[in-house]
Symmetry: C2
Subunit: 388 residues, 2 copies
């Protein structure tokens, strides 16, 4: 593992960082990780964190149960990066294409147990063929469509499940089944969230039973989304839970009711660069390049614009949002309908913006500046990577 | 300047690139650059291209009138990068903050004529103070608000203009006035676009006259946006035009009527990873991480979703759009209301997605893969940078 601390960063304070930049409150992050781990432990189901959110080895080692994993990734670049950093048990959780199998084989031959996912016979045949040709047996999980939101085999489609399962075993390894309850992001209220978790669980348990009854192996039964991971009350038959954004949380998760605003560990530090006083606008040097264009709260009960504005210690101003964003300009306004006063912020003052979507905002930055609670001392700078 | 060609890239073809990745059709790019240059030449007004779109020295040298500039940037990192590559005449076109002046001075002392912009007396006083303290006279342009869309001084606010101008000259250099007709993105039709260009021109010409009549210098009168640059018919009194996205164009510009679909030089190459046939969906390995979450066409007459889908040679399929996007998954669908048939695309087939917004999509990638017209040969890979 690489050294996490740069000497300059170890000396700095929030007030001296160049803006815009990305801040992580490690106290909140550690609390969020402990919360999900403590929640799953009594159910006896291990966590396989999704590292696509953080793309940082320092965050990964805190989220994983061991430095070797298990872990989930969304790109083969993530797989290669984390494998090079010592992670040994990885699922690449986007449907595999034949052209990516050479890279999968290369990573496996370097000692990482990398599994792929798929939902068609064509992909299964490609995995089996590549396994036979290379002599490297590639493990594959069948993706199940638990809620119709994206990819996967409907769990009741027995013929397709068995055809895929049998095709994998013609050279590859049928590792199990997996699903992602992406539809849970639209669930509102505890009852709906518990139902989404149960639907997710049932989909893979049913699919696993179909495979096993046909004599096919299915050791892994994997579920995962941050909302369902926090609301599941019964994980019978499930062997692992995947989740990603729980590490940092964000405004979308707060809007669904999975966390509170003061659990959100990620913020973008910005500097005031101007005013349009007669319009009630404050301009800052963080636009969509620093925040992303994720507007995930736009369909929630509280639309947070491009983010919720806090002071430099991380305390939200009342109803102040990043209402509009150009590439490197942000416009702060009081939320429509609010009677809150626009805070007095002078040119050069600093604010911190909580993001709608931690995965998207994180991706706009090359590093995390680490703080702890309300302290203004920046103890570390952790590198994060991007691209494919 | 760095070498532009990597030996591996020089050997590759579109079919062998790892996906998702970013493609630039250099034939279209060169045509777009020539078009704007040819348009402005008879009016005698030089182009100061905005390098925030491309963030690549290879694109910059093609867009600029000389390897030394002039150029516009949106961050000090861009200024430092292009200065290191030999550009000598740069405007940093986001309102300056006092904490960034040390970096501005450092860059100027290294030989680049870097100018800043501002719209308050506080910023002007900070520029003057830093100039006096450092001995490095910082040039500043006063930002004018021509259409109310963002920052700047209203051109009729004579008192504020003169106060700012006088404050700059207490140590700094009053270089001139500048504006950006961001409101022109909402204009529709040639008449409205010509009017936006004329309003933009008038705003800075009027402001320059106010300054000059008070005995203040105003050598530079700078306008700029890609829509107005392509529709201005009279640039009397203007000394330079800035524009950025004209180099690549995108679906938003096509929707406004500034370019045709087949002028768009940027696309994201992706691979088919699955189907949900009963829903009419094709899944690909490019989601919002590869495209950005820019939905700039959502309020235009034709909503292109997250992008318009072409075959691997760059020819659009009829009415096929990237209708939905998760982090690394994209869902292709026929546009609502269209009778077009879903094309037959097998797992492993490649498509190219034209972006809504070239600045936003480009920012998600670390390099450009260069092709020429319908040839599938990738002649170069050009590095692009990100961050602050």
């Amino acid at each position: 593992m690489r050294a996490a601390t740069s000497p300059e960063a170890a000396q700095s304070r929030i007030g001296t960082l160049e803006t815009p930049c990305l801040i992580i409150d490690a106290a909140r992050m550690d609390r969020n990780i402990a919360r999900l781990r403590d929640r799953l432990a009594p159910m006896g189901v291990p966590l396989r964190p999704h590292l696509k959110t953080a793309k940082s080895i320092e965050v990964a080692v805190r989220a994983m149960s061991s430095p070797q994993g298990p872990a989930t990734v969304s790109t083969l670049k993530e797989a290669a990066f984390f494998a090079a950093a010592g992670v040994r048990d990885i699922i690449y959780a986007v449907g595999i294409t034949p052209c990516k199998l050479a890279k999968v084989i290369e990573l496996r031959q370097n000692g990482v147990d990398l599994a792929v996912i798929l939902d068609t016979v064509e992909q299964a045949e490609a995995v089996a063929l590549a396994s036979r040709t290379s002599g490297e047996v590639i493990p594959a999980l069948i993706e199940i469509d638990c809620d119709g939101h994206r990819s996967g085999v409907p769990p009741q489609d027995k013929d397709r499940l068995l055809s895929i399962g049998r095709a994998i075993t013609q050279g590859g390894e049928l590792r199990g089944v997996m699903t992602h309850a992406g539809g849970s992001y639209a669930a509102r209220g505890a009852t709906a969230l518990r139902q989404a978790a149960e639907t997710e669980r049932r989909s893979v348990v049913d699919a696993a039973n179909i495979l096993r009854q046909a004599g096919l192996p299915c050791p892994v039964v994997s579920v995962g989304s941050t909302p369902t991971a926090h609301y599941a009350t019964d994980l019978s038959g499930v062997t692992e839970v995947r989740a990603g954004v729980f590490v940092f949380f964000d405004l979308v998760m707060a809007g669904i009711g999975i966390c509170e605003i003061d659990d959100i560990a990620m913020s973008v530090l910005a500097t005031v660069i101007g005013h349009q006083r007669e319009k009630g606008w404050i301009l800052i040097d963080a636009g969509w390049m620093a925040m992303s264009q994720d507007r995930g709260t736009s369909k929630q009960q509280i639309d947070q614009g491009y983010g919720l504005v806090c002071d430099s210690a991380g305390t939200p101003f009342q109803d102040l949002i990043l209402a509009d964003a150009n590439q490197e300009h942000g416009i702060l306004k009081v939320r429509p309908g609010s009677n809150a006063a626009l805070p007095e912020l002078a040119i050069g003052d600093r604010v911190r913006i909580l993001p709608n979507h931690a995965c998207a905002t994180g991706a706009q930055h090359r590093s995390y500046h680490i703080v702890h609670g309300t302290s203004d001392i920046v103890t570390n700078e952790w590198v994060r990577f991007t691209g494919w």
